[in-house]
């Protein structure tokens, strides 16, 4: 029997985690008051990760294995890399979605992702993929720097066999400015926390959730899991109290392993909740951003069938203790990368558009005469025993694993995280590609290492404020070398 609900979910937390103890050691001289937050680690993307790439990885996890192709894709973020160039279009291209997919961006507040989910649930118009990711900019020694973490999440909502039914949703708005960021300000300006707790969180949550529970004929005591994605998890308890829900029902904040991922955090916490949910559990998800979204869900019997590997990602972080490396990855410190960094990385948009399926979708060709996969697709087959003309059909490499044929760790090449690791990789089923690698520890690659493909920033064109994306070979999740 088909029903409408959450069909699948995915999450992405970058491997790199800045130890807050070490972060505090670097900045505590300026803001000793941050000491209370100096525990655990916060996730941060490598130099070649941004909300687009993180959303792609989360969405790939959500779309893996037998779910409907989305009819619509919404990318929700307040830190989308492009202000006027559709970010969701890049994500859709990386996912190789059909051109007919309705693709759009959402943003403006930390309710961006939950609101997209609510609209899709209300409309019940085909399958919608909500992909969200955030990389909050923060000044050094700011509370935001301590509390934030980079991450992405994705939900597929539609008709099928849901993992969770969407019982209902409700929202209220209130222009309470607990924090804000403008294009000009660049970073968040954060106001008094207790004021927001008392006048914002604890008043808005009941306003949004109260009518929702009433309509669903549920009491506070029926809630098995309460998601309160607030920047400072210490404030979540006040929300639970205001809703008369026990603190023991609060979903984990992910503070220790990730930090607060802005607009992506509600769905990230939901992904974590669904990973451990049992059938029948009722989940109340809130989200705050000049108002409150409240979504009521019930896990179905299918919830245990599809588990995403979020807990594995949370556990398998790589702790960074060097604050300048953290800053460099975020582009927040101007490192002298030498003359090789002066290379002009202007993108020929004519070519990028013509070859967008090759580049974003990692779609090459497979020869219909001899069956050889190859990248890029070419007029003549690369197989030396074939060479047939115009026989290649589309062949996507993005979801294939490969093994390393040769590699190096190059200390001369320009990269924002030396050394640049790259090599020849051979794909399962055929095909060979000379490509950059990502996320390997030094010494982590060897001939024969298994690799999986990751959508990443290829080059940053600082002169023109542009950057381009391609795929890189990284460790297979759970495999060696990471």
């Amino acid at each position: 029997m088909t029903a409408f609900g959450i069909l699948s979910y995915g999450a992405y937390v970058p491997r790199r985690r800045m130890s807050r103890t070490h972060l505090f050691e670097a900045v505590g001289w300026a803001q000793p008051s941050l000491k209370g937050l100096a525990k655990g680690a916060r996730a941060f993307g490598a130099w070649d990760e941004d909300p687009i790439t993180m959303a792609v990885e989360a969405a790939r996890a959500a779309l893996a294995g037998g779910v409907p192709k989305p009819d619509a894709l919404c990318f929700a973020s307040t830190t989308a890399p492009f202000l006027d160039r559709q970010n969701a279009g890049v994500i859709a291209a990386a996912l190789d979605l059909a051109a007919e997919t309705h693709v759009y961006d959402g943003g403006g507040s930390q309710r961006a992702a939950t609101s997209a989910l609510m609209r899709a649930a209300t409309a019940q118009n085909g399958a919608t993929l909500v992909a969200t990711a955030e990389q909050r900019p923060a000044k050094s020694a700011s509370v935001t720097e301590m509390l934030s973490g980079d991450a992405g999440a994705a939900l597929l909502i539609g008709a099928g066999e849901p993992l969770a039914d969407i019982i209902g949703a409700n929202a209220v708005y209130a222009d309470i400015v607990d924090h804000y960021r403008t294009a000009a300000s660049g970073e968040d300006y954060v106001l008094e926390e207790r004021w927001f707790r008392d006048e914002g969180l604890t008043k808005l949550a009941p306003q949004a959730a109260g009518p929702l529970l009433e309509k669903a004929k549920l009491a506070a005591g029926d809630i098995d899991c309460l998601i309160v994605p607030v920047s400072n998890p210490a404030l979540a308890g006040a929300v639970a109290r205001a809703l008369d829900i026990g603190k023991d029902k609060l979903a984990g904040s992910l503070f220790n392993e990730c930090g607060h991922a802005g607009a992506a955090h509600p769905l990230l916490m939901l992904a974590a909740a669904l990973e451990s949910a049992t059938p029948g559990q009722v989940i109340l998800m809130t989200a705050f951003g000049q108002g409150c979204d409240a979504v009521l869900l019930r896990a179905t019997d299918a919830v245990s069938k599809r588990r995403t590997a979020l807990s594995g990602q949370l556990e398998n972080g790589r702790i960074e203790t060097n604050y300048t490396k953290f800053l460099a990855a975020r582009g927040a410190i101007d490192i002298d990368w030498g003359m090789r960094a002066e290379r002009d990385s202007r993108t020929a948009q004519t070519v990028a558009y013509d070859k967008s399926r090759d580049i974003y979708g990692f779609v090459g060709g497979v020869c219909s005469a001899c069956g050889t996969p190859q990248f890029p697709k070419s007029r003549r087959c690369v197989n030396p025993d074939c060479g047939a003309l115009d026989t290649q059909t589309d062949y996507r490499f993005a979801d294939l694993t490969a093994t390393v044929k040769s590699y190096t760790e190059d200390w001369m090449a320009f990269t924002r995280e030396p050394p640049l690791v790259y090599g020849n990789v051979s794909f399962e089923g055929g095909g060979n590609k000379f490509m950059e690698m990502c996320d390997f520890e030094p010494g982590g690659v060897a001939v024969g290492t298994s690799v999986a493909m990751n959508f990443r920033i290829k080059d940053i064109d600082a002169a023109r404020g542009f950057h381009r994306y391609f795929w890189k070979a990284g460790p297979v999740p759970g495999g060696a070398g990471g």
């Binding site: 020929a348 070859k355 030396p384 190059d410 050394p419 000379f434 381009r468």
Partner: protein, 399 residues
């Protein structure tokens, strides 16, 4: 196979500048320096040259585009000059153009010149450049050492070698070239090195350390080629002739197909096989007396010994460590110091290699002179192991 160019063209004069950090010289000075040596060597007048080929690689970054730098520097009398570029085989391509023109009977005497001023680009190592509007979108941001370092990883894996053992053989390659380069006053790097210095050098691109990499320098080299009849008039019956010139560019197989193992250069094997046939060499080990190969990196030279058929597959490390390619070995390699000590001003390198073989064949190599060499082989590998242009040229005496 066509009958080829064996003995159809003579080299009647050659010139080569001192290679190095030529802060004192502009391309005009280098070209003039090489040319004046060659024309004096040939004993002809400049106006007897009927056509020229000019090899420059980084056209926008040092010498300039087109043929006119050469025509202008030498004030050539408006004879046809063609600028050629084919990666690190650029210098050899200039020579091939001139040689083919003479062999075809299109002219009697032709000039091949190669020049590069790398030190004006400001880089240590080769300069950065775009790979083209499409490839920039997906090719890795590799450097030459990083691309050639791949050979080390794949070679060690293929032959189940411990990397430390492979590194010792690679270090011997560099050690030997520095021993040779120290005896060449035209070389850039003339300091001898110990094995320990080489092995302990800072890493550039694993497994290549600094001393596994060739130098970066400025230089020019040139050849004047002519019909054998003209050579005979000028110098008598004994002169250097071109025995073979073969070129093999990649067609994408190494980069895009799994059949390539990453541990050899496919194109060198093809070019060498054709060149041996063109030159009538049936047993390279017996017939080739001296080689100048593309030792851009130590691992490249090691792998090339197998690709040229001088070592059995898997035997290059032990042959190298046994001294087979040392100055006093069976087939000395880089007797002039190689790219390792000359550096690699790309447009000039192929002609610089030819210059040393020319001197050796004529017995004019001074303290580096080998005893009665038979055939000399020059080899270039332009590009990177998984996509390149390989050139193999063989030279010998006319009689």
């Amino acid at each position: 196979m066509a009958e080829g160019i064996r003995d159809k063209v003579a080299i009647i004069g050659m010139g080569c500048t001192r290679f190095g950090e030529r802060w004192d010289a502009r391309p005009e000075d280098l070209v003039t320096e090489a040319f004046e040596e060659a024309i004096a060597d040939a004993g002809i007048e400049k106006d007897q040259i009927e056509a020229g080929w000019f090899g420059v690689f980084y056209d926008e970054q040092n010498v300039g585009k087109s043929a006119y730098p050469l025509s202008q520097y030498l004030r050539l009398p408006n004879i046809p000059v063609t600028r050629v570029e084919n990666l690190c085989a650029t210098g050899t391509e200039a020579l091939r153009g001139a040689t083919y023109a003479v062999a075809a009977g299109a002219c009697d005497i032709a000039l091949a010149m190669g020049c590069e001023k790398l030190k004006d680009t400001g880089f240590s190592g080769l300069p950065e450049r775009t790979k083209g509007t499409f490839e920039d979108l997906y090719q890795p941001g590799f450097t030459p050492p990083g691309a050639f370092a791949q050979l080390g990883a794949a070679y060690a894996a293929k032959h189940r070698l411990n990397m430390d053992d492979l590194k010792r053989a690679m270090a011997h390659v560099s050690w030997k070239s520095h021993e040779n380069g120290a005896r060449n006053d035209k070389a850039h790097l003339r300091r001898k090195l110990t094995m320990e210095q080489i092995l302990d050098a800072p890493m550039v691109a694993y497994p290549l350390g600094v001393f596994d990499c060739c130098g970066v320098s400025d230089g020019a080299a040139c050849a004047i080629v002519a019909r054998p009849e003209i050579a005979r008039e000028l110098v008598g019956d004994s002169f250097v002739t071109v025995k073979a010139m073969q070129l093999a560019p990649s067609n994408g197989v190494e980069m895009g197909h799994q059949s390539w193992d990453g541990a050899h250069t496919l194109t060198t094997r093809k070019a060498a096989s054709r060149a041996y046939e063109e030159a009538g060499v049936s047993d390279p080990l017996a017939d080739i007396s001296v080689t100048e190969v593309h030792d851009c990196f130590s691992i490249t030279e090691l792998v090339l010994m197998e690709d040229l058929g001088l070592s059995q597959d898997g035997a290059a490390p032990s042959d190298i460590l046994d001294g087979r390619y040392d100055a006093d070995g069976a087939i000395p390699c880089q007797i002039d110091g190689g790219l390792k000590c000359f550096g690699h001003p790309i447009g000039a390198s192929g002609l610089r290699m030819t210059y040393e073989i020319y001197l050796q064949l004529l017995g004019r190599a001074g303290e580096r002179q080998l005893k009665s060499p038979n055939f000399g082989l020059a080899h270039n590998l332009g590009g990177i192991p998984n996509r390149n242009v390989a050139a193999v040229s063989i030279f010998g005496m006319s009689d």
